[in-house]
Each structure stands twice: as C-alpha cells, then as structure tokens.
C-alpha cells in the first residue's frame, strides 16, 4: 500500500428526489469530497426512485444513506449527515479540527 493511491474512498449516496434531507446530505458529502477527501474519492449519487435495483442491492431502507464501500469495513451512514462527528468517524477521517490527511491509516 502506498499513501498516494488516487482513490481511497468509494462512496454511494442514496437520495430521494430533491427532498431537503437529501439535499443536505448531498451538500455535506460534496463538502467532504472537496475538502478532506479531495482527489481520493469516487462518489456516486443515486436517486432511489430511479434505481430500485441498486436500492435492493445495497439494502437501502432509509434515505438519505451514504454507503461507504471502501475503505473497509462497509458502513451505511443513515441520515442527512448533519452529525459531522459521527460522519467523520464512520469515514475513517480524523475528528473535526481541520488537520491535513497526509497520513494513511493502516
């Protein structure tokens, strides 16, 4: 493993149309992707109304849900991602204070 693998995070965000919660979640993910995960994330946004097959594949019940496929373990972040602390924890990110993520985990 090297520290500079271009893509470390594979994320899928399930949203439902233009609901406020979905919008909030999308906003939060975008921000993370731009800041903490810059350049290392592949983000897919899926509208559950359009892709029922994916909903089944990922066992999605709640919307919005952010699925973290990589790095392991698999995590489903349920909700509008407003609880930033838990979101960062779940994504294996350092806690809130803006610290550069130049070190990889193990």
């Amino acid at each position: 493993m090297t520290a500079d693998v271009p893509v470390r995070w594979y994320l899928t965000l399930y949203v439902s149309g233009a609901s406020p919660r979905s919008a909030a979640a999308l906003e939060a993910v975008r921000r993370l992707a731009d800041e903490d995960l810059a350049g290392q994330v592949e983000l897919e946004v899926v509208d559950v109304r359009d892709e029922p097959a994916l909903v089944v594949r990922d066992d999605i019940l709640a919307v919005p849900t952010l699925v973290k496929r990589l790095p392991p373990p698999l995590r489903k972040l349920v909700g509008d991602l407003s609880d930033t602390g838990r979101v960062r924890l779940a994504l294996d990110l350092r806690p809130e204070p803006p610290v550069r993520t130049d070190q990889e985990g193990s």
Binding site: D59, V78, R86
Partner: protein
C-alpha cells in the same frame, strides 16, 4: 405513548372505536375479510383477517409468527388467487425458502409463477451509523416495486421492528412506520406485520400495535410438563366477532393448523340412520344400533374387552364396505391384528382390502397437539365412516387432565364434525368404573361400561349401557363373553345373590334345570294322587248310593207290609162286622177302644 391520532384521522375519520362497535351493521358493511386459508383460523375469526388492513401477529421468538405469515401469503396465492409480497428483515430469502419448505410450501415455484415476491432485507446494525434525519423511502420503494411487480393483494412484513434497533432514531422510525401503514391501507393491501413480544406483557417490544390496531393476534409457545403447546389468541379484532380463547395450534408439514376447541359450535347434523355395532345383541340393547355420526365410548378396567368391542365395530363397518380408521395408543397394528384374530376378528383382511387403516402411536411421543394434527390429517385423507380410538386414557400421560380433556374434546369434534361414527375406548379403574377418567362423558352419545365381576374364583365381564342419546336403550346388564368367533352378549342370569356370570351362571342354570325337573316330578305325583283320590271319592259315592238304594228298598218293603196288614185288618173287620151285623161304616168309625187283641193276633 404516541397514539397516532392524526394518522387514523387522516384515514377519513372513520376509525373511531365507538362508531365501529356501536353500529354493527355499518361495521359489517365495512369489514370485508380476507380468508387466511390457515386451517382453523378463519373459523376462529369468522372469516379471516381484515381485508385491506394490517394485522399484527406477535409472539416470542420461535412462536411461529413467520410460519403464520408465510402461510397467509402462500394460501392467498395458491387458494385465493391473491399475489403477495414477503418483506423479511430476519433471514435470507434462501433460508426462508428452506425453512418453509418443511411446511410443504414451495416459495420458489410461487415466485416463478409470478404470485410471490420475496424481498429479504438485510439490516446489520453494526454497519449502520446514524448521522441525522432520514425517511424510509428506500423501504417504500422496494415495497412498492414488489407490490407492483406481481399486483400483490397481500403483504407480510417480518419483523419490521428490526428497524428500530437498526436505524437508531426511534422517533423517525415511528413516524415512518405510521406512514407505511397508511400507505398499505391506502393501497388496500391486506398485511400481516409480525412483532416480537415485549417484556412485562407488552404486545410488542416497540409498541407497533399502535399502528396496527385493527387486528392483533398473539402467538405463544409454552412448555408445560415437558410438553410443548403452541397457542394462538385473537387479542383484538376491531369490529368483528371473534373467539377470545387461546386456541392451540400446530405447525405441521401441511402448515399451521389452529385447533378451535369447539369452534364447530355444536352444529353437527343428526343423522337418524343406525349402524350396527357388529353385535346383534348389543344393537338390540341400543334399540337397533348406534346413530351414524355419534360417539360411542367404551370404558372399563384392564382386560374387560374394550379393544375387542371397538374392533368388532370396525369389523362390522368394513364388512358393510365402509372405510374405517383404527387408532391405537396402546398396541402396534400387527399386534392388534394378531390379538383380534384370537377372538375371531380378522382385521388383517380389511387392511389388505384397503378399507381399514390402522395407526398406532404413543401419544407421549409428540404431545397432544401434534397428535390431533395427525389425526385430523388422516381423517381428511382417508375420509373414514368409522373411527376407533383405542386407549385414549393413555393420552393422560401427556398433559394435565384439563389439557387432555380439551384434546379429547377436540378429537371428538374432529370426528363428529365430519359425521364419522366414533368408538373410543378408555381405561377406568375398578373403583370408579362408572366415571370417565377423562370427564368427556358429556360429549359421548353412547356410553358402554364393561366391568369385571369377580366371583367364585373367576373374573367375568358385564356390559352396561350407561347412556345412549336418542335411544330407548335397555337398562339391562349383559354378560360380555369373548369367544373364538368374536364377542357375544349373553342375557344375564339373575340368581338369589344377584347377577350370575361365568360358571356361577352355569351352576345357576343347572340348578334351575334340576329344580324344573323336580317340580315336574312333583306335579306328576300330585296328579296321580289326585286321580287316586278321585277314584276313592267315586268309590265312596258308589257305596253311599248302594246304601241309599238299600234303604230305599227297605222302606218299600215296609210300605208293602203295611198295605198287607191294612187289607188283613179290613177283611177281618168285615168278617166281624158281618158277624155282629153292623155296617162296615160303624165298624170303621167306632174304634173307641183300641183293639190290640186282633192286631197282636194278626
């Protein structure tokens, strides 16, 4: 507690309890029911589950909730042409398919036929991180997709409460579930929602009964005296009559069977046809046999010939060409055939001819409920006209007396409801031989008691007809004799010391015979004596008559002498008169002094 008022009101305000309960006609009109197809359940609920509404099925784990729910779908698809959707949160689709295959349900086939969609939703709480507000659109979309795929009329959510644990935020889940149930109702879907029994008597752990308030079914699985019994109770059924008892139910290889204790409601027909018991003398005692479809109980202590009597009835039925079922709780079929052959009843030939089915089982092996399930199944498969249940008292080893009584009651209900003539034998002890060990006598139409009498170093059997409904049955006792050509009833001999049986009977009969002979001889003697007496009397009469005749003759002789004397006197007088010159008249009228002289001389 959240009562979800606004949810119900959103349904159009028609859900007020009082409106439903106070105006049954309106309720009737509204309360369409969807038959569950689960045997017995539709009887208990008078038609099934509320159509177009969710029903909560709750119980501890392992109480059979999933089985109930799956059967509801399978029967709907198979028997009522109503496709279904099964949303399971508990197990994988493969596991589920495998599990219910043991109930005889082929879910894969139903899926292939487009009658069923199984959607197994895997929720692993460990994977889930709650990060804020959400809704359950994912679930809605899956459900809606599945419902549309097959045009489902029925939906099962098994066990949706998992969501509370998995998604964290209970408030949101509650709100979303309320929305889900509204959605189900608005689609007119008949739904079964399973729930896990909560602590301290709560119906469900998370109180989802709040949302499913039309119909609540509680399942229970308890083990009492090492015997497990599953029970079902309709705890609530808004706007519908329903039995409130706890009904035992079974999970068999044909699915769930609820066994209403007396759901038949005593609505049996009452055939007037009599069927022979195979014993002409017994038929006679019973006024021509027993009614078809009635229940005959033969009770008695060990070795009184109960089984033989039951076999006789079965034998007679087979001989009439009827189907018969012989259930023994005491002997194996082979042993039974052998034993009955020894008294001249050949059951083996009926088995070979396919008219008799024999089944033996120790009731202890499985418990009462499964026993009932199997009995019902056999009654259904074979459709016998006569059933013998031999040794039901041994059911008493399985459960408490009340349970056994209820099991036997239901057993008899199963039999009676089908118009089958039933013979059951039960062991009683000599001391209380007039009481049924199982206190089911009120269900019995004809009760025969066999009793051993011990006299003169013998045990002999007596048969009493204790009761026989609808029959002017005999009050007499008969001696019940097992011969090598079956059982026989003999008229009893009543001697000075009561009823005589066996050799006492023979002795008494002999005594009577001797007595008769003696009396006959006595009579002859008396007759002879009488004849003699008559002869004597006749002789005496002859003697007397002879005396009479003799006396009569003497009187005649004296009379003749007197005549001669008169003539002599007259002639003497006329001679004297002539000599004196007197008239004869003066001589006649002047006898002033007696004249003994001449009289003496003559």
């Amino acid at each position: 507690m959240l009562y979800g008022k606004e949810e119900w009101l959103a349904e159009g305000g028609a859900m007020t309890v009082s409106a439903g309960e106070r105006h049954p006609p309106r309720t009737e009109a509204r309360l369409a029911k969807a038959p569950s197809g689960i045997r017995g359940f539709d009887q208990v609920t008078d038609g099934g589950l509320p159509r177009g509404r969710p029903t909560l099925v709750t119980g501890a784990s392992g109480s059979g909730k999933t089985m109930f729910a799956v059967e509801f779908l399978v029967r709907g698809a198979r028997d009522y042409g109503e496709p279904g959707v099964l949303l399971t949160f508990e197990e994988s689709a493969d596991d589920l398919i495998e599990n219910v295959a043991s109930l005889g349900f082929d879910l894969t086939q139903l899926e292939r036929d487009g009658m069923l969609v199984i959607d197994a939703i895997h929720v692993d709480p460990a994977e889930v991180v709650a990060t804020g507000a959400f809704n359950l659109d994912g679930l809605f979309i899956r459900l809606a997709g599945a419902v549309e795929e097959v045009g489902a009329k029925r939906v099962v959510l098994d066990t949706i409460e998992v969501l509370f644990g998995a998604l964290g935020n209970e408030g949101i889940v509650r709100g979303e579930l309320a929305r889900l149930f509204r959605w189900l109702k608005s689609r007119g879907l008949t739904a079964v929602v399973t729930g896990e029994r909560g602590r301290a008597g709560q119906l469900t752990r998370f109180g989802i009964e709040e949302y499913v308030s039309d119909c609540v079914i509680v399942l229970d699985h308890r083990v009492l005296d090492d015997v497990s019994t599953r029970r079902l109770q309709v705890a609530k059924y808004r706007g519908s009559a329903h039995g409130t008892n706890e009904y035992p139910f079974l999970i068999t290889d044909r699915g769930v069977t609820v066994l209403p204790i007396t759901a038949a409601g005593l609505r049996y027909g009452a055939p007037t046809e009599r069927v022979s018991t195979g014993l002409a003398q017994l038929d006679h005692l019973l006024g021509g046999g027993v009614y078809r479809g009635s229940i005959v109980m033969v009770s008695g202590s060990a070795g009184t010939g109960k089984t033989t009597l039951a076999a006789q009835v079965v034998d007679a039925a087979c001989a009439r060409g009827e189907q018969a079922l012989f259930v023994s709780f005491e002997e194996s079929p082979d042993q039974l055939v052998r034993d009955m052959r020894s008294v001249g009843i050949d059951l083996g030939r009926w088995v070979d001819a396919g008219v008799l089915r024999m089944w033996s089982e120790r009731a202890t092996a499985f418990g009462l409920e499964s026993h009932l399930g199997r009995l019902e199944r056999m009654l259904e498969e074979q459709a016998p006209q006569v059933v013998a249940l031999d040794g039901i008292a041994s059911l008493g080893h399985v459960g408490s007396p009340s349970e056994v009584t209820s099991a036997v009651t239901r057993e008899l209900d199963l039999v009676k409801a089908r118009g089958i003539t039933g013979v059951l034998t039960t062991l009683t002890h000599e001391s209380d031989s007039a009481a049924s060990a199982l206190s089911v006598s009120s269900l019995i139409d004809t009760w025969l008691l066999l009793r051993n009498v011990e006299t003169d170093g013998e045990r002999n059997r007596l048969l009493f007809v204790i009761k026989s409904r609808g029959t002017a049955h005999s009050n007499q006792v008969r001696e019940f004799v097992l011969t090598d050509h079956g059982a026989e009833l003999l008229e009893v001999v009543v001697g000075p010391r009561g009823v005589a049986t066996g050799s006492a009977r023979a002795a008494l009969l002999a005594e009577e015979h001797i007595g008769a002979v003696t009396r006959r001889e006595d009579l002859d003697q008396r007759r002879a004596a009488l004849a003699q007496r008559a002869a004597e009397v006749a002789a005496q009469i002859a003697v007397l008559q002879a005396k009479l005749a003799a006396e009569g003759a003497e009187v005649d002789r004296l009379a003749a002498q007197e005549t001669h004397r008169d003539e002599a006197r007259r002639s003497a007088r006329s001679v004297l008169g002539a000599a004196r010159g007197d008239s004869t008249a003066s001589g006649d009228t002047a006898p002033e002094h007696p004249t003994p002289g001449p009289e003496e001389e003559v």
